[in-house]
Symmetry: C2
Subunit: 200 residues, 2 copies
């Protein structure tokens, strides 16, 4: 058979197939057979790229986490702390179809990570990255006088709010529009500024 694409691309395609199956049928149906079929390959061929199912799943989860981390890194440009914070945070919310899809599979993997050590390590990595991002945002706001001085406490609150909104968006996409999600973040940032100017 001809080499039609390079191996790395094939692995990406297979990861994408995994995500499609998970979204459509759930993580429990993301079997080697189903994923191979989704990608238009035979089982044997898939196993040429991933020697085990867990390797395939881990790779698929990694791609999701990497995409989330990449969004966090995109904080160039904007220099005003408030707008900068809002820009980054909104970027992380599931506002369009792509991010909604990622968010759904993130939730599925996160749940399974409770009993799968490999996935757990990846999930923790993503958790830490997001928390660090939240901390950086809060610290910057705090330094600019736009958030309370207790950075750890406000990091906890912002991080929980962000993931809570993501979970809610996955559970009830009808009730959580792009606008309402973004508005919730915006309101929280406003609130932080008010708290600082008043309480601390």
């Amino acid at each position: 058979m001809p080499r039609v694409v390079d191996p790395a691309q094939r692995r990406q395609d297979l990861a994408a197939a995994v995500l499609r199956v998970i979204r459509r049928d759930g993580l429990e149906h993301a079997s080697v057979r189903n994923v191979a079929q989704e990608a238009g390959l035979s089982m044997g061929s898939l196993r040429h790229y991933f020697t085990s199912q867990s390797e395939l799943m881990a790779f698929a989860f990694e791609t999701v986490i990497e995409r989330i981390q990449a969004r966090l890194g995109d904080l160039t440009g904007e220099r005003d702390p408030r707008r900068r914070a809002e820009t980054i945070l909104v970027e992380l919310l599931p506002l369009d179809a792509d991010r909604r899809a990622e968010n759904e599979v993130w939730l599925a993997f996160t749940a399974r990570a409770a009993v799968d050590p490999t996935l757990r390590a990846l999930r923790d990595e993503g958790y830490d990255a997001l928390r660090d991002g939240c901390r950086a945002i809060v610290a910057e706001l705090s330094e600019a006088g736009l958030a309370p001085t207790d950075v750890p406490a406000e990091t906890e609150r912002l991080h929980a709010l962000l993931d809570g909104l993501a979970v809610h968006a996955a559970m009830r996409p009808d009730l959580h529009t792009a606008e309402s999600l973004a508005a919730a973040i915006s309101r929280h940032l406003d609130a932080l500024a008010v708290e600082r100017s008043r309480g601390d």
Copy 2:
């Protein structure tokens, strides 16, 4: 064989067995066989109480949701709005082993509900109940001058914070102690009061 317990109790026991299996091995291992073994029954006997696996799973999920709803209902006693709010909210957090266990299986079921219509209906019921509870709390605080006047927006924020904290507690039980979770809620309630007295 003798009737040793009444059927309703047996169903409760089986639901409890489901939850234990889910916590230990994950939802994907909560098969009829494994649950029957966990409960010390034969498959055939289990099927006397639940004619299908989905019925068993739905029942188990219901028991979790009912427990959460029951906590929301326990709002008698305390009359001071602030303390009342804190009491109820803290009750909902996974602060002890029992609530942590519930929280973990809630997460597992919630993820599966994305592709299982029966579970989705139950999950939505729980979501609505929790949101209504949050709304009632925010409304009461707002009326007492202890929270901003925009009740829907603050309900969204409080609800997301609550579920976000629960998810984080499930993901990283080591990083989220009972104290830190309760402190996050307490801080948020303080913040609401500050916002009201300042911003609105």
